[in-house]
């Protein structure tokens, strides 16, 4: 067993790969969600939904970036980044919503609902494509990338 304070992790970062894939899926799904909430709440609903999707994407990117860079320092530092990153990212979302809550284009209900739906929806969607194996720790390989012998 090695020490968590001195063990560093180099090489490809699976969380970065996951987040890139999630952003690609968000780009596909966002127009549909924006259209639905736009029909219900009008232009403010559509704009609020876009803002919320952007917030969730930024949240995922920040989480992955913090973990990737801290893992190069040490495993323990990655733990610190994950724990405090959680608090910092919650504060960022809180501040981002507080800053715009009185703007004309903000509808709080679609904003809040989109934050939850997008966050959970992207995660559940991504879970179908995750491969937690030693050979492929990120996404499942496509058949042309990997041919079993």
């Amino acid at each position: 067993m090695t020490d968590a304070l001195t063990t560093t992790l180099h090489g490809p970062a699976p969380e970065g790969q996951l987040v890139r894939d999630m952003l690609r899926r968000a780009a596909w799904a966002a127009p549909a969600l924006i259209a639905v909430f736009g029909l219900i709440w009008g232009v403010p609903g559509a704009l609020s939904t876009s803002y919320a999707i952007g917030l969730v994407c930024v949240n995922f990117v920040l989480a992955a970036t913090a973990m990737t860079y801290s893992a190069r320092v040490s495993v323990a530092m990655m733990g610190v980044a994950a724990m405090f990153g959680f608090l910092i990212r919650l504060a960022i979302i809180f501040a981002a919503v507080l800053l715009v809550r009185d703007a004309w284009w903000v509808e709080l209900v679609p904003l809040g609902v989109t934050i939850i739906v997008t966050h959970l929806g992207l995660l559940f969607w991504e879970m179908k494509y995750v491969s937690a194996s030693l050979a492929f720790p990120g996404l499942k390989p496509k058949t042309q990338e990997y041919t079993p012998t």
């Binding site: 989480a63 919650l90 966050h119 991504e126």
Partner: protein, 94 residues
């Protein structure tokens, strides 16, 4: 006449006080919702990350697999705090 106007003023003040009390109660409930919603995920993420760090330190060759699971676990746990946050903004501002 003066008794009636005094009663009217008292009624107005009482209504104002009731509105203030209601607003204060909503703010207090929103604060509790957000605070309580952050405690559980905080404990969850702490436990999850602690165990993952231990696993990665024990077996660095499995770090990629553990990181994938940890990242998804953190994101799912964080969703609980986000739900609390949405309840907070709905209670406080809507």
């Amino acid at each position: 006449m003066s008794t009636l106007s005094t009663l009217g003023i008292i009624a107005q003040e009482t209504a104002q006080n009731a509105a203030d009390v209601k607003a204060a109660a909503a703010a207090q409930s929103a604060g509790y919702a957000y605070g309580l919603a952050a405690i559980g995920p905080g404990i969850g993420i702490g436990y999850l990350v602690g165990q993952s760090v231990q696993a990665m330190a024990r077996q660095p060759e499995a770090a990629g697999m553990v990181r994938t699971t940890m990242f998804l676990g953190i994101a799912f746990t964080e969703a609980l705090a986000l739900i609390g946050f949405v309840v907070f903004i709905l209670l406080k501002f809507v």
